[in-house]
């Protein structure tokens, strides 16, 4: 286990180097020189040169890469180009709101998806099963944008059950008032794919020999589902939830943007709109590192809860 972990950590280095190169290639080579963009419509050559010097894009590429490398290793990505706030500071303050939405969202949607998947797997082949599957397919084919627009219009604007947007001061206020609708939208969006995926996990287990044995012993169907099948089907589910995490962190940006939640996702959208490269660079690197660590954790967890798994 330890040797495996060390080897995987060692393998992080080329991947991380690749991510750094990719980000550098994109932002310093392709993106090149945003000085004209930042200087605005009325600008003099002096101003442009000044901005270039400030951003460090007048240096040769080798020097720029060295600076970027130092930034990654020290974790200090400098200041935002548009607000001059430190990037590290932005992250520290935006992570909380993001997690306030994401953690409940992930927990509730996983539990709901699991329960629903178990139900439809239990009545597999029936009309209910087929109806739920059709509903899931249709639900999945509607854009997340539509969910956000319609839910916000209906529940916040028309019915007034939730604030349309905003963010409060206390954690309870944020969680129960301002995040509630965002969480509901997130659940509505992720439920359909979750049910479909988890249903296949349950179906894989239901046809196993141990289920037939349990039935032959006269065990009740409920006990088989809740105790035997659930525990086995939970193994791929747990890893699936973990693997979803990095995508969710960045993927919730639409939800954060629409509900005015000052999280990392909204910051990314703002940064993309403002061509605020330091923030996007930092997010990309951070999230890539997080993804690698989470992938490793998922594999280790898989091994921990399923002793049959051999890590190689």
């Amino acid at each position: 286990m330890l040797a495996y972990t060390l080897r995987r950590l060692w393998q992080f280095i080329p991947t991380l180097a690749g991510v750094i190169l990719l980000v550098f290639f994109l932002f310093n080579w392709v993106g090149g020189d945003p000085a004209y963009l930042l200087a605005g419509k009325i600008s003099s050559p002096d101003m442009i040169a000044n901005i270039r010097r400030q951003l460090g894009v007048d240096e040769p590429y080798g020097v720029q890469l060295w600076i970027f490398l130092k930034q990654v290793l020290s974790g200090d990505f400098g200041a935002s180009w548009s607000t001059n706030e430190r990037v590290a500071e932005i992250f520290a303050t935006r992570l909380g709101p993001s997690l306030t939405v994401l953690v409940p969202l992930l927990l509730i949607s996983t539990l709901l998806g699991m329960a629903a998947a178990m139900l439809v797997a239990h009545v597999r082949g029936s009309l209910t099963d087929r109806a739920v599957m059709v509903a899931c397919t249709v639900g999945q084919s509607i854009s997340i944008l539509v969910y956000i627009l319609v839910f916000q219009y209906l529940f916040a604007y028309q019915l007034g059950w939730f604030p349309v947007q905003g963010w409060g001061v206390t954690f309870a206020d944020n969680l129960l008032r301002y995040s509630a609708l965002a969480i509901i939208v997130g659940i509505a969006v992720s439920l359909a794919p979750d049910i479909r995926l988890y249903r296949t996990f349950f179906l894989d287990e239901i046809n196993q020999d141990y289920v037939r044995t349990a039935r032959a012993k006269g065990m009740s169907e409920t006990r088989i589902m809740w105790v035997h099948v659930l525990r086995n089907a939970a193994i791929p589910m747990v890893t699936n939830v973990l693997l979803q995490l990095p995508g969710l962190l960045a993927g919730a940006f639409l939800i954060e943007r629409f509900f005015g939640i000052p999280g990392i996702g909204r910051e990314v959208i703002l940064a993309v709109e403002r061509s605020d490269f330091p923030i996007i660079k930092a997010v990309t690197i951070y999230v890539a590192v997080a993804t690698m660590i989470i992938n490793l954790l998922a594999d280790l967890l898989y091994k921990a809860i399923d002793p049959r798994v051999v890590l190689k």
């Binding site: 080329p14 991947t15 690749g18 991510v19 190169l21 990719l22 980000v23 994109l26 932002f27 392709v30 993106g31 963009l37 397919t137 249709v138 999945q140 084919s141 509607i142 854009s143 997340i144 944008l145 539509v146 627009l149 319609v150 219009y153 604007y157 990095p246 995508g247 962190l249 960045a250 993927g251 940006f253 639409l254 990314v268 959208i269 940064a271 993309v272 709109e273 061509s275 490269f277 996007i280 997010v283 990309t284 999230v287 890539a288 993804t291 690698m292 992938n295």
Partner: protein, 335 residues
């Protein structure tokens, strides 16, 4: 009896799947709409301001209440008449008002449109048809690009092995360690250029990873099979073995992955365009329609949102069901 080819057998299996067959027909209808719109038969004048602002759909009938702007204009006209002197500018003003009120002075604006109108009175039906073209062209072209790259990389990595394999695996791990939408957004920020072609490039260049992984695994399996060794023995070159001998045998994997990508890319295009990094302002797509629909909804004008959502949902549902049916039909294990 003549031996049936793998594709003929797959087609036979596919035809038996009624749901899959029905969804294929729906997909083909959409492709026909795409071709019709591209040829200029469907919705060429989507940008024309054919109706009044927010003209309701025909099945609802025209709006009963006059818009406040029109009422104000009528009041204003009366006030001027009260002064008792003829307005010297009156003929000019009526001329201007006429030009402003309609796209052309010759045709009056319709009060209702088949599926309603948007803020500028453009026909939502025509926008949906034209938007279908944009979204489907983006989805199909980007998927084709991704499938090409994924197949090429996968074939090279799986067949050549060694440092080639190491290199592409490294590239794969780099691309997959950044969440897909974040990568797409980052590239959009860097390119900072709107346009259909840009969207296709962004989606195609980032979306090849899934196809790569599967194709590489297939090539690893196939390169040691007897028919490939036999081809080697008669002196077939590496490229010939890769693309003439093996590729037809793994093409079903490419096809299934390609149609999974189409669905993913259509959805991504909508999000990109919605956020303002997608197709240009002179192009209509489902994403640009949804972007307008957000503020329209607050005014109670729901038809553009509904039209774009339904058009997209039907295509994506049909395409997903078609993909599932195709995968079942092509899966040789079920034979």
């Amino acid at each position: 009896m003549r031996e049936q080819g793998v594709w003929a057998l797959a087609w036979k299996r596919f035809r038996r799947d009624r749901l899959g067959f029905a969804s294929l027909i729906v997909v083909l209808v959409y492709v026909a709409i795409m071709l019709g719109a591209a040829a200029g038969w469907l919705g060429p004048d989507w940008n024309a301001e054919a109706g009044v602002s927010f003209a309701p759909p025909t099945f609802l009938g025209p709006e009963a209440v006059e818009s406040p702007q029109l009422a104000k204009a009528a009041e204003g006209a009366q006030a001027v008449a009260d002064y008792g002197i003829a307005d010297p500018l009156a003929p000019d003003l009526t001329e201007i008002a006429k030009t402003l009120s309609g796209a052309s002075t010759t045709s009056a604006r319709a009060v209702t449109l088949p599926l309603g109108g948007d803020k500028w009175g453009r026909d939502v039906l025509k926008k949906v048809l034209k938007g279908t073209q944009t979204s489907l062209v983006v989805g199909l072209s980007a998927a084709a690009l991704a499938a090409f790259l994924g197949t090429l990389f996968g074939a090279l990595a799986g067949f050549r092995g060694g440092w080639v394999d190491d290199f592409f695996n490294w590239l794969y791990s780099v691309f997959t360690s950044i969440p897909y939408l974040l990568l797409v957004l980052a590239i959009a920020a860097v390119v900072n250029q709107k346009g259909t072609f840009t969207v296709i490039l962004i989606l195609g260049l980032t979306g090849w990873t899934g196809i790569f992984r599967l194709i590489r695994a297939e090539y690893l399996k196939h390169r040691v099979r007897e028919y490939v060794l036999a081809a080697d023995a008669i002196g077939a070159s590496g490229a010939r073995r890769m693309f003439v001998h093996i590729l037809p045998n793994v093409s079903h994997v490419v096809l299934v992955q390609l149609s999974i990508c189409v669905v993913l890319f259509i959805k991504s295009e909508v999000i990109l365009t919605f956020l303002g990094f997608g197709v240009g302002v002179d192009t209509v797509s489902w994403g640009s329609m949804l972007a307008e629909a957000g503020s329209e909804l607050l005014l109670g004008k729901w038809w553009q949102l509904t039209a774009a959502t339904v058009a997209m949902a039907i295509l994506v549902t049909a395409f997903s069901l078609f993909t599932d049916a195709m995968r079942d039909a092509l899966d040789p294990r079920l034979k």
